[in-house]
């Protein structure tokens, strides 16, 4: 194993180059495996491509760099509290525009912490949405017949189709 460098370069699916520190990259299982297998050095021409667009990759790297110190060494309760607050701020983003992309990236890069955080954020956002907002977000059509709609309305008097 091992690498003498402190940061590696990765490519996004758009072909842009990004630097990520080794300790931050270790938050992703596939990147960590790769770091263990391949010896990176300054003259290394090996540039892994991450199938994530640039906009998303910037956010993912930002998350990794913030969380890396704690993941590697453990942290005090006050640090954990601070990190929690940072996560909330970090997650303030548009669902369709970026949050879903982050989710896909976290899944693809096997980043459990970010995956759980993004899922919970998406769920919290959905909680406050109307039925028609959900349809819009997921590109779903209301495929109930008018009879079915009537039946459901009777079963759930408090709920709305809009």
């Amino acid at each position: 194993m091992s690498s003498s460098v402190e940061a590696i370069t990765v490519l996004s699916s758009d072909g842009d180059e990004f630097k990520i520190t080794v300790s931050a990259a270790k938050l992703s299982k596939p990147l960590n495996w790769m770091l263990e297998d391949v010896c990176f050095s300054d003259d290394c021409d090996e540039v892994p491509t991450i199938e994530v667009n640039s906009k998303t990759l910037v956010k993912v790297i930002e998350y990794c760099e913030k969380h890396a110190p704690r993941a590697n060494s453990g942290a005090s309760d006050s640090d954990a509290e601070e990190l929690k607050k940072w996560d909330i701020e970090f997650m303030k983003m548009d669902v369709k525009d970026i949050l879903f992309h982050i989710l896909m990236a976290a899944n693809y890069l096997h980043m459990e912490g970010l995956y759980d955080l993004a899922c919970q954020t998406a769920a919290d956002l959905m909680k406050g949405m109307t039925v028609s907002q959900i349809r819009k977000i997921f590109h779903i059509k209301n495929d109930f017949s008018s009879e079915e709609q009537e039946q459901l309305r009777r079963q759930h008097p408090g709920c709305s189709f809009d």
Partner: protein, 335 residues
């Protein structure tokens, strides 16, 4: 191949990711989102999703339920988030029932006993989150010489909920078991376990129900699938406290004991001569299954001390909400 649920433009969400998000939604929201489309309606009602949702909720901190301002007026404290009190829905007929007592809660279902007269009672199971009720058939006639013990729990093996009813009178034990799936009662044998009295409080865990014996010298277990009773001696714990019960907490069977000092243990009086209480939590874990018998070992996991803990603050139930369906009459049939 994973099915893509989101059509059209980016992003495509694979099913696994979609489920990971949706299982985090509260039951109330999921009921509402059934109106989104046929896919959503079928998802929320599918046994697979109900199980996934329950599994996720069961790994969260359960709500402690408190009884306030009348029978079955249950309020839950949201431990994880805001700590606000949330009122649990109950069917209006339940407010009119007399002599109601909660038997237990399991996977979002609450089992209730109501004594209409001095010697007749009936049982109900209710899901406050989905607003469904099951009226358990038959009435229970009291016995002047005997004491009734009830247990309510879930068997993952059978995928069924059962109520066990034990009538203990001098030397006699009569046991009947009710199954939610078959909606019927059946009489079974108690077996040889030497038990005279036990707690009414019990826990349902890992396909069995557990009671603490009255002498507090051990735990009585009932395997819901095999329908067998067993006595598990108390594993060297000091549980002789004014309050002692088994509860299921965070996927573990936990024995909670309350001890007081200042009154009972003069040597332990706190500074200023105040009285204090301590809640002890012992975790029961299934040891390596050497034989068919379940063996339990225990370690003390927590000790919460504070004058703030009084008998009044002890929750009546630990509860997690679920989509588990129970209605006698199917909603489809109703319409």
């Amino acid at each position: 191949m994973e099915k893509m649920l989101v059509q059209g433009d980016f992003p495509f969400l694979p099913e696994q990711i979609f489920i990971s998000i949706v299982m985090r939604l509260p039951v109330k929201t999921l009921i509402r989102f059934q109106l989104v489309s046929k896919f959503w309606k079928n998802l929320v009602r599918s046994p697979y999703f109900i199980a996934v949702h329950l599994h996720h909720t069961s790994n969260q901190i359960p709500r402690s339920l408190f009884n306030m301002g009348g029978p079955l007026n249950l309020f839950g404290v949201d431990c994880a988030g805001t700590h606000e009190l949330v009122y649990l829905w109950k069917p209006s007929f339940m407010s009119k029932l007399s002599g109601t007592r909660i038997i237990n809660s399991c996977n979002g279902l609450i089992c209730v006993r109501s004594d209409h007269d001095s010697d007749v009672s009936s049982l109900f199971i209710w899901n406050p989150a989905t607003r469904e009720v099951r009226c358990v058939p038959g009435v229970i006639e009291g016995d002047v010489d005997g004491v009734f013990y009830f247990g309510f729990g879930f068997s993952p093996f059978l995928n069924d909920y059962k109520i066990v009813k034990i009538l203990m009178s001098d030397g006699n034990k009569r046991v009947e078991v009710y199954s939610l799936n078959t909606d019927t009662w059946r009489e079974i044998e108690f077996g040889n376990a030497e038990i005279r009295r036990m707690s009414h409080d019990h826990a349902s865990f890992n396909g069995s129900i557990f009671w603490v014996t009255e002498e507090m010298n051990g735990i009585v277990s009932f395997d819901l699938a095999r329908e067998v009773f067993k006595f598990v001696p108390e594993p060297g714990l000091y549980i002789h406290s004014p309050y002692s019960r088994v509860v299921q907490l965070n996927q573990k069977l936990v024995l909670v004991g309350l001890t007081t000092w200042g009154i009972k243990y003069p040597g332990l009086t706190t500074r200023g001569g105040k009285y204090g209480y301590a809640l002890h939590f012992w975790e029961m874990e299934e040891a390596e299954a050497v034989s068919d018998d379940k063996k339990w070992s225990s370690t003390k996991i927590d000790r919460r001390v504070g004058s703030a803990i009084s008998n009044l603050d002890i929750p009546v139930l630990f509860y997690v909400e679920s989509l588990v369906p129970i209605a006698n009459i199917n909603r489809e049939e109703l319409a």
